[in-house]
């Protein structure tokens, strides 16, 4: 299993860089992961989404899809794409240190 180093700590990730053990994540790691994904600065709106992702993962065992994010996070899908241009559900999950959202089957 590959590892990555953020904020001075080694964490377990999968081949695509998603955390496999979300308990290893700390808020201090988020800016570093974000910058790897081409997001320069995390605004309050970014943090709103990141915290929402963590909360959803803890409640449901998987991160939400873009559509659910748009319905429930308080941020519209359009704005989510402006904040996470490469795909809000995946990128926000990566920054929030949770596994890749389970695609619907």
């Amino acid at each position: 299993m590959p590892t990555a180093r953020y904020a001075g700590a080694d964490v377990c990730v999968n081949d695509e860089g998603f955390f496999t053990e979300p308990g290893q994540w700390t808020e201090a790691m988020a800016p570093e992961i974000a910058s790897q994904e081409g997001i320069g600065e995390l605004t309050d709106r970014h943090w709103q989404v990141i915290k929402f992702m963590r909360h959803q993962y803890e409640a449901k065992g998987t991160g939400p899809t873009v559509r659910v994010l748009g319905k429930t996070s308080g941020v519209t899908i359009k704005e989510l794409y402006e904040m996470f241009p490469k795909g809000p559900a995946k990128i926000a999950a990566k920054i929030a240190g949770i596994p890749k959202p389970r695609g619907c089957i």
């Binding site: 899809t65 873009v66 559509r67 319905k71 619907c104 089957i105």
Partner: protein, 421 residues
């Protein structure tokens, strides 16, 4: 004392479950009522064939009531809401029905209005769907008139019913235009929000290969934000565009509207959270869910409802008897994938095991994950099985509720433990 079981929805899951329960429970011990807003049961797997003139619309519809055994009451009314606190269903016609056990079997609802522009200019002229009867019939006429240009098949977002159906549509479109001798004038494109043709890796490789072989372009990770029927293009949330002359779109899906009006019952999309092995609703112990209405991580497909039926019926009987539930549902899904030219593939999988190659249901059987004429005949035969075996709630001979392992090649399933035989 007679207990009352109310089944909301007279589609595949509700019908087969009511019939199973009627056989298992004495009429003195349980009253079974099925509620649906109309009396038209549509054989949904047949919708795919309508646009290509391979099925007649009237042949796909039968009265819901006639699919129910004697001793099952049918009520034709929409549901206003469910009052979980008081074990009561309020119907749109004003009556209220109390229940001892409630079964939610109202499936998924198509929500084309949730995508900007989908129902706007061009709808049923340049923009179609084959997921319901009338648009599928309109599409048949549009396809017959289509003599060249860009045909785009697009999935708005997951989850959708029968996730392989839009791929099958693309394969059949390739076949259809070849048969008409104009394939070289048609540019076929498949647009999906997923990062591949299908969610399951092994299957994805096979299906992507088929798209390539048939000259169908694949555009992935495309989340459609707007359908512009006037300028004939799909626009994604991240600003990409796919132009079309004819678009065949699978609209967004959600649960039924009454779920949103029933406090505590559904999730943000209107699907019902359940225990994925017992199919008991998380909201209440006397509520069970079958078919597309459940939030289980399995395909929304008739085969899933069929395999769930055995477990849900058993668990309702156990619940009524005060016994512990059976956690036996493994996510078993079985789909024929029509690939054109009289051939089809078959896939069989569950929550844990991906579709693999081999044979189904055992070593001598239909080939898995490979195009064959046998599978196409299997798909055609399934129409008869649906009305005569599946809806009556019978087990299909040699096809068990839990996913069979005999005959399957374990390659590609490194996480798979030793097979039982």
């Amino acid at each position: 004392m007679t207990q009352r079981i109310i089944v909301l929805g007279g589609g595949t899951g509700g019908t087969l479950l009511a019939n199973r329960l009627r056989r298992q429970l004495d009429r003195d011990s349980a009253e079974i009522v099925v509620v649906d807003s109309d009396n038209e049961h549509v054989y949904q797997p047949g919708l795919l064939f309508i646009p290509f003139g391979l099925a007649r619309p009237e042949a796909l519809v039968r009265p819901r009531q006639h699919q129910l055994r004697a001793g099952v009451e049918f009520r034709c009314s929409a549901v206003d809401h469910v009052d979980l606190e008081n074990d009561t269903v309020l119907l749109a016609d004003g009556t209220s029905l109390s229940y001892d056990v409630l079964v939610v079997a109202t499936g998924a609802r198509l929500m084309p209005e949730e995508t900007d522009g989908l129902l706007g200019p061009g709808w049923l002229e340049k923009v179609f769907s084959f997921y319901s009867l009338d648009p599928a019939v309109a599409l048949r006429q549009a396809l017959a008139r289509f003599d060249g240009g860009r045909l785009v098949v697009g999935v708005m977002d997951m989850p959708i019913k029968c996730p392989v159906a839009p791929l099958e549509f693309s394969f059949l479109a390739d076949w259809y235009f070849r048969k008409r001798g104009i394939r070289d004038k048609v540019e076929l494109t498949y647009v999906t929000p997923l990062d591949g043709a299908f969610t399951k890796p092994t299957c994805n490789r096979e299906l992507s290969g088929l798209l390539t072989d048939k000259g169908i372009r694949l555009i992935t990770e495309f989340n459609t934000g707007e359908v512009d029927g006037r300028d004939r293009r799909l626009i994604s949330y991240d600003g990409r565009e796919v132009p079309f002359d004819l678009a065949v779109l699978v609209p967004l899906h959600g649960g039924q509207a009454y779920v949103d009006r029933s406090p505590g019952l559904g999730d943000e999309l209107g699907f019902i959270p359940v225990d994925q092995h017992t199919l008991q609703a998380k909201a209440r112990p006397n509520v069970f869910v079958i078919g597309d209405a459940a939030d289980v991580p399995a395909s929304k497909a008739g085969s899933v409802a069929h395999f769930e039926g055995e477990i849900v019926a058993r668990n309702i009987c156990r619940h009524l008897a005060g016994e512990p539930l059976n956690a036996g549902f493994d996510g078993h899904t079985n789909c024929f994938i029509e690939s054109g030219f009289g051939k089809a593939l078959l896939i069989d999988f569950n929550y844990d095991i991906e579709p693999v190659t081999g044979r189904f249901p055992g070593r001598i059987g239909l080939p898995l994950l490979r195009e064959s004429r046998l599978n196409h005949l299997g798909k055609l035969a399934f129409g008869w099985l649906y009305w005569h075996m599946l809806l009556p709630g019978r087990n299909i001979p040699a096809v068990p509720g839990q996913m069979p392992r005999a005959g399957k090649h374990a390659a590609g399933t490194s996480h798979l433990g030793p097979a039982p035989d």
